[in-house]
């Protein structure tokens, strides 16, 4: 019996009523208070211009920088090969890369010529004479 009475408790009409109250005239004054707030917000709303850079624009800028770098690199590469240092005269380029200077280059040229015209013994003799001449040796004594 007691259990049956308890089971119906949540169905009591009184429980279904709102137990809350509001200040007198609250709903009557709400519309005017709200309109006042909207007016205040609208009048105080100053549009702020911000430097907002859209994501698309930022991506485009980055792509442009990368593109420019690639184009510049390509131009430099083309010019470098076009100047002939490495392209037209590969042997010169090799010498430059090996930091071979004018005197040494002369020696290389000489060796090349000797290769074409002289045998090994003759070439050695020529080289020896050249060396002694450069170092101011007494040629007469040598040949004696």
């Amino acid at each position: 019996m007691n259990k049956d009475r308890k089971k119906t408790d949540l169905q009591q009409k009184k429980l279904k009523e709102h137990p809350f109250g509001v200040p007198e005239g609250y709903f009557e004054s709400f519309a005017s208070r709200l309109q006042e707030r909207i007016r205040e917000e609208e009048s105080s709303h100053v549009p702020v211009r911000r430097m907002v850079i859209p994501a698309k624009f930022r991506i485009a800028m980055a792509a442009a920088v990368v593109g420019l770098a690639l184009i510049s690199y390509s131009i430099i590469r083309i010019n470098a090969t076009g100047n002939g240092a490495n392209g037209s005269f590969p042997e010169m380029a090799l010498l430059e890369e090996l930091q071979v200077f004018d005197d040494d280059r002369y020696l290389y040229d000489l060796i090349d010529e000797m290769d074409e015209e002289m045998n090994e013994e003759e070439a050695f003799a020529v080289q020896a004479i050249e060396y002694l001449a450069i170092n101011d040796a007494e040629m007469v004594l040598l040949f004696e």
């Binding site: 259990k3 408790d9 949540l10 429980l15 279904k16 137990p19 809350f20 208070r33 709200l34 909207i38």
Partner: protein
Amino acid sequence: MPEWDDREIIEGIQNPDKDDKAFGMLLEKYQERLYWHIRKIVIGHDDADDVLQNTMVKVWRSVGNFRAESGLYTWLYRIATNEALTFLRQKKKRTFAPWVDVEQKISESLESDAWFNGDEIQLKLQQAILKLPEKQRIVFNMKYFDEVKYEQMSEILGTSVGALKASYHHAVKKIKAMLGED
């Protein structure tokens, strides 16, 4: 008080000139219903007043985007529910330390609330409702006090009818247990 037609209200407030008269009609028709819906979520009158104002400001600003297929009533309730829940979450962050239960605080303040007119059993019921999870609380309030149909509730809360019925069933069971029934 005349019961304004929703279509008439919508046509009026969607006017580029933002017809104050039509917005007044909307307030007249819905402000009280929305207030009670909000009040049952946030409990305190001052908080409910803040949330109702926020809701109506949002309605005023976004009414141009309103699509009539969802129904004015549904749209307004959805905004009010979201605003009330957002308010509670902000209050949790702002007012109390993370370890303090905001619902528990509200429950305690209810006893001394000047705008709570209920008796002891009504107080116990409200305190039991406050112990429910957020969604169950809203479903229980809408079904138990306002007798909102599940189909309508489904549109407002974006939840299936089955899930809402289950939520209500669980809520009733918990409240009965808390009130010492069964």
